[in-house]
Amino acid sequence: MDAGNVSALTTRAKYGDKEAFGELYALIWRDLYKYALFYLGNREDAEDAVGEAVIAAYSSIYQLREPDAFKGWMYKLLSNSCKKKLKTIIQGRNSLRFDGLELSYDIMSSEEMHTAAELYESLNSLSPVERQIILLSVVGGYKSDEIARLLHKPSGTVRSALCRALKKLRTDFS
């Protein structure tokens, strides 16, 4: 993300420029959706989570202090919205739904589909915190000490969680 560009867009968005906000969103929208999808496991919940996060972002972007921090801040809001979603899901339905990621079956090989199925299973076996950390690093591209600062956790804890999660995923894939 071009820092200068982001800065300018954020400033405009802060003052109500919805188009500028739209451009900011357009820079990361796919990754945001993927994050929510891997986190919650199904399309409807992911859609809801992204939608909520976007509304929260637009309504509070005025107070975003550092314009260059848009991406990290957006992920933060999305994370919160996914967590909230998870809570209501668990309370309401008592189960998570991992019913497929709406893949284009004609493009993927059966091996890839198999991998995908195993992946959801593995992600499901992670705790929400581990899932969040893995997704922040794999989808969001953050390093472990950056994640530590985002989540207000000691970096040792994040690294341990990352290791544990990678381990669990690794065994499932080996």
């Binding site: 399309r43 992204v50 933060k76 189960s95 893949l103 992946l119 929400p128 894939f173």
Partner: protein, 852 residues
Amino acid sequence: MNENNHNIDKEIEELKSTLAPISENIKPPFSVTPAKLEEKLEGVAQNRTIFTTPLFKKAARGILACAVSLTIVAGSVMTYQASQNKALIKEGDKNVSIAGDYKRLYQSIEKLKKTNTKKFEDARDVLIGSGDAYNESFQDQSVKPSTATTTTTTKTAGYGKTNTQVADVDEGDILKNDGKYLYFLSGTNNKNGITTTEAYVAPDLARYGYSVSSRSSKMLKIISAGETGKMQLLATVKFDGDFQPEEMYLSEDNVILVGQTVTQKKVKVETSTAKTDAPPSIEPATAKDLITYPAYTGSAVDPNSAVSNETGTNASSAADDGTTNVDKTSVSTGAASSSGAEPAISTKEVPPSRDTLTEKTTVPEQYYSVTETKTTVQVYDVSVKMNPRLLHTYSQDGGYLSSRMTGTKLYLVSNHYIGDVLNKITQRNIINYVPKTCLDKGRNTPIPAEDIAMVNNSTETNYAVISGIDTETMKTSKKAVLGSGDTIYATTDNLYVACYRYKQNPASSSQKSVSGSYTSVLRFSLPQEIKFTGSCDISGNILNKYSMDETDGLFRIATTTDVYGYTFSRFNNVFVLDQNLKITGSVENLAEGETIKSVRFMGKTAYVVTFRQTDPLFAIDLSVPSKPKVLGELKIPGFSEYLHPVDETHLLGVGVAGNEQGQTGGVKLSLFDVSNPKAPREAFQYNLPGSSSSSYIGTDPKSFLYDAERGIIGIPATINGLSDSKNYSTYVTNFNVLCFIQLNLKTGFTPLFDMANTAPVKDEQSTYYRLSNDTILRGTYIGDAVYSVSEGYIISASITEKKRLGVLSLGDETERVFTKGDGFTGQPIVSLDPKSWSVENDQVLYPYGYAK
């Protein structure tokens, strides 16, 4: 505690590439495309709320408070005794130098500003209303005593202790055992994959647009236990404010908790009328420029003031709001002497006249939110187990790195990050950004420049802060280093702080630049007062704390060096250093292309496991410090992640099995016979059952349990590929257990039994029952009883009789639903009666058998 960053990065890359084909095929639905965005935002208003404070009175109080405290603090600083720094390093030492005064410290900070042009997206600088606000006045120290009586055993049975690296040096852990009571810090990990949360609204902040926040709850549970396996929950301690304990120690009748406190503070936006421009002549910062800080707990700044002034009321601007601390930056803009009491106040500041004050206060003040992280210690008296009492609180700036404890002395290390405020630091205000410490209700005191050292050529925008605290007297000794740390190693005499660093040699015209990893090590002497006694730079980087050792006064360290140039090369080394931290001897270029997986120093020998496709276990003789040499090598498939000395001629390795092609599999135990170090051999091995298995012992060696007396090993693991022998569905394929294995040096490994922290849970929507299956965090023992500890339960069993003795539920909910995947339609799978969970084929303590 610290895993090789490089390995993690590599794994992430691999995961990314596995994910890539799936990820590319994800088609986001139309509703989340940017095209639909505007529609979604229709009618959404932007929240432009900013904080405003009541006008004149508040400002006046603030100024009064700071004027008074300036006098007092200035006084105390001038009488501060500069500690006798008997450092072995001299001023001309090329690695590190002592700051001595803040001017020199500022020169290092200036260098950092120049080298740190990379802007880090600091999402910590959280906006108001993002949902991360914490209620600062939240206090809940509820202690829930149990009504039942405790059971005590009068015999002193052997009991499990934390698996520490060095004898006599204790390490913090989430589980502690004193032979009669178990102390467990729950909430550290998640229960059954569901984060326990407490949601609450900060009433004061709600009117400013803060929303409901939630955070995970950590609790200390004190449980009576014994050889009979009977347990009673005696007390539950919750923690106030934002203190999140990570681990704990036991000392005398105290439980000492160590962790982090993260608070949100309001910081005033510097308005254009604020005095931020310094006049051309820059004077070195002195004690007179000290800014006082309000006490950590937010209590009033010193109200005792003989100086009369306008309001004469309690000098605390925290009064109205109730939730905010006095903000720091506003003090600097308004800092002034009171009526001539301290003429030494910087002459650059114009004492605000009444008129100026009135002028200023017509501008509404704006605030933004800033996150502050401190490492905190809380000492509780548990002489009466059912009534733990908080005795003392100590905190130091920075995120918690690690700690050690010898006797009653606690050594605490944290990293204080200044990267986000680097550009705000000036010659004059540098002391505001120096790490501070605070004891109980005292003031936040900055660490004096004489106790701050600077690592030369460091690009770390971090202070490592080291404190030594006597938990009986609460006397403390502190040092700070500009340059951080990521792993520590301690003996009873010395503390070593290591930091991963990376050097890039600039490219010359003829060749590509060469860059490589190295480690900076700082040494501090213990135990009375912490003193800086030396440092060194070592080629390569370490794996974890086991990569370092000090024996007979000599420091030894094992590293993996990565060199990036025309080609990438990797090799491993063991260095021996003398008392001046100069290298006396080394083995270098070992196992080229491989990386260290585990290290154990045992007296005069070092055992190093490297791995790429096979696991060479190297035995390295260190008896002659100037001539370490490789004695022997053992090549076997797989690798050990953790090495445990059994006796002088045997080493136990816990790790990962593998085959000749370098593929890795499940958890494997190896007993290495090193009686002939020239030819180490694998005497016995044992693989955990299931189609595959994993354990996190590599990253959490404290999870390893070993009773040397009886030769009993306990390892938490996840076993995959289990099938239900009772012919029900096989949906549950990953099973978390604590495996108990007997080790006999002559006959090898014998599996005893596995414990699973399971309990049947009723699905509210149906008659189906499922098993909860917590990750086992720790295992311990008291005499014949073993205890497996998870977030939801502590379960005890008898080693000799191989049966469960008791189950203690730690959950608040008596019924929880655990779901796994989709469409679980199994029949009732277990009887609710725990007595029916018997042993079958020496395997079972939980209802599932599994295929071997």
